[in-house]
């Protein structure tokens, strides 16, 4: 690992000054991704700014019933938080489906959003990767691409975003609060990550001199009946092949509210609002859910080793929604 200067600011304004002073500065949360990438020389920051000393670790409820999660809240603390477990079980389940107990104790909410892809060609210095070296090419396209994207990818990059948490946040209409030299602003989570296009090295809408301060969850009654279902190559401690974050509200047998986002299939959490809209007012039946699945997966393209993800995602969507509809019936 290349050496670097280490800074641990106590205030956001100090952190922003440090960030603006150095081109090669990186923000460090739990280190579960950045330290690993630094050890592999994929990331080579000249300065590391530890944000865990910032006063951004609280989970609070606002006046409108919104919940504001500080950016340095640990994944385990958020997963175990009473308000999240009761009002947004999909988020608690998504966090618990990610990584291991040790890593969840380390990882921060801001770091989880900013984590890099786990594409093995991105990690392999000997492989071609447009994300790591713009213009170099992509060895995943013709390589082993079982874990790769079926939606939102481009000829430049077929990597997926690995987060489970972000998939739930996308379904919950979460908003990311960021701040920088020009002040604070908000970015909807669903718009936070970019699709690769011709520039897979540009991964988010966060500017280099900004940092994430919080994630806000607007109140959503339908989220009390929500779930995160994840299919992976082993039962625990593995990244998703396909995951589904869903919230469903049924009234008199008809879908009243539906939120649906997919993980493991795209460079960002995948959500199609028009697909959700097709279900609203329709009977909460497998046929309706099948239509939602087809509309969500419209345009999906498989590569040599991941074509199965299209059918897997379709089935997991229908399964998740049918399961939630049954829970509704049982109430």
């Amino acid at each position: 690992m290349r050496n670097f200067s280490f800074h641990k600011p106590a205030t956001v304004s100090e952190a922003l000054v440090l960030l603006s002073r150095r081109d090669g500065a990186k923000l460090l949360g739990g280190g579960t991704n950045l330290v690993d990438l630094m050890r592999e020389n994929i990331e080579q920051p000249t300065a590391v700014i530890d944000v865990t000393g910032l006063p951004l670790g609280a989970v609070t409820e606002g006046p409108r019933g919104e919940i504001v999660v500080g950016a340095t809240t640990r994944n385990s603390a958020l997963a175990g938080h009473r308000l999240i477990r009761e009002r947004f079980p999909v988020l608690s389940e998504a966090l618990l489906a990610g990584a291991s107990g040790q890593i969840r104790n380390m990882a921060t909410v801001g770091g989880n959003i900013m984590q890099r892809t786990r594409c093995s060609y991105f990690y392999d210095e000997a492989a071609r990767c447009n994300k790591r070296s713009p213009g170099a090419g992509c060895d995943a396209l013709g390589g082993f691409n079982r874990m790769h994207a079926i939606l939102g990818a481009s000829p430049s990059c077929i990597a997926t975003h690995p987060s489970d948490m972000c998939v739930a946040l996308a379904a919950l209409d979460a908003v990311v609060h960021v701040t920088g030299p020009d002040g604070a602003r908000v970015i909807p989570l669903i718009d936070f990550h970019r699709l690769p296009g011709e520039h897979p090295e540009q991964e988010t809408r966060l500017r280099p001199d900004e940092l994430i301060t919080a994630v806000e969850l607007p109140p959503l009654g339908a989220a009390r009946r929500s779930s995160y279902r994840k299919v992976r190559d082993r039962a625990s401690y593995a990244f998703a092949l396909v995951s589904v974050a869903a919230a469903l509200e049924v009234e008199d047998g008809l879908v009243r509210t539906l939120r649906l986002a997919l993980g493991g299939v795209a460079p960002k959490p995948w959500r199609v609002a028009a697909a959700e809209a097709t279900a609203v007012g329709a009977a909460a039946t497998p046929e309706t859910f099948q239509r939602v699945a087809d509309a969500t997966l419209a345009g999906a393209v498989g590569h040599a080793h991941n074509g199965f993800k299209i059918e897997l995602a379709r089935r997991l969507i229908v399964h998740s929604l049918a399961e939630l509809a049954r829970t509704e019936d049982a109430r």
Partner: protein, 189 residues
């Protein structure tokens, strides 16, 4: 910068940092490069070699230690991040040479073969049992809002999935943890 800034708040050029590590109750004042992991500081500087370097990339759990009572991976933690924090390693669990109940349970249930993953397994299990005691759900908990969660076989397996054992001593590992988990809840093993 404020007058009461401590040393680590000041921007510095690449170079050594003074770091105070409180390990198993003893205070150690070290001077470290920022890139030194907590694991390397423990093993190479403090000669506490119980914590193991298996994969050095956060995949195996052999380096698990407790920081302020929480289980973490010392290979992905920078030592400078732990300045002033209370760290417990496997060496800190046997007070005055007497094995902790969990260590004894690992022996009683054959919770290891080669023993390489054992310090990480035991530190992880200590942290996991505390998490369970505080009501933390897991990925196999049917209702994450439940106020009481039975520490079943499935729960133990899921909660310990961050610790790999290449000998495959999982049966004994789970039995040892199950015994201590039940004892902690006042149930006869």
């Amino acid at each position: 910068m404020k007058a009461n800034d401590t040393h680590h708040d000041r921007p510095t050029d690449p170079g050594d940092h003074p770091v105070t590590l409180r390990v198993n109750g003893a205070t150690h004042r070290l001077t470290l490069e920022p890139r030194v992991s907590l694991l390397d500081a423990l093993r190479e500087r403090l000669h506490l070699t119980g914590s193991k370097k298996g994969c050095n990339q956060g995949a195996c759990g052999a380096c698990t230690v407790l920081v302020n009572g929480q289980r973490v991976l010392s290979c992905l933690t920078l030592a400078v991040q732990c300045d002033g924090e209370a760290i417990t390693t496997i060496e800190g669990l046997a007070a005055e040479g007497r094995l902790s109940p969990l260590q004894q349970a690992f022996i009683d249930h054959d919770g290891f073969q080669c023993g390489y993953c054992t310090p990480g397994q035991i530190c992880s299990a200590m942290g996991m049992l505390a998490e369970h005691g505080e009501g933390m759900p897991s990925a196999v908990t049917r209702d994450v809002a439940a106020t009481s969660i039975d520490l079943s076989e499935a729960e133990i397996k899921e909660r310990m999935s961050g610790n790999l054992c290449r000998c495959g001593a999982y049966e004994g590992i789970h039995a040892a943890i199950h015994q201590i988990g039940r004892a902690a809840r006042g149930t006869a093993p």
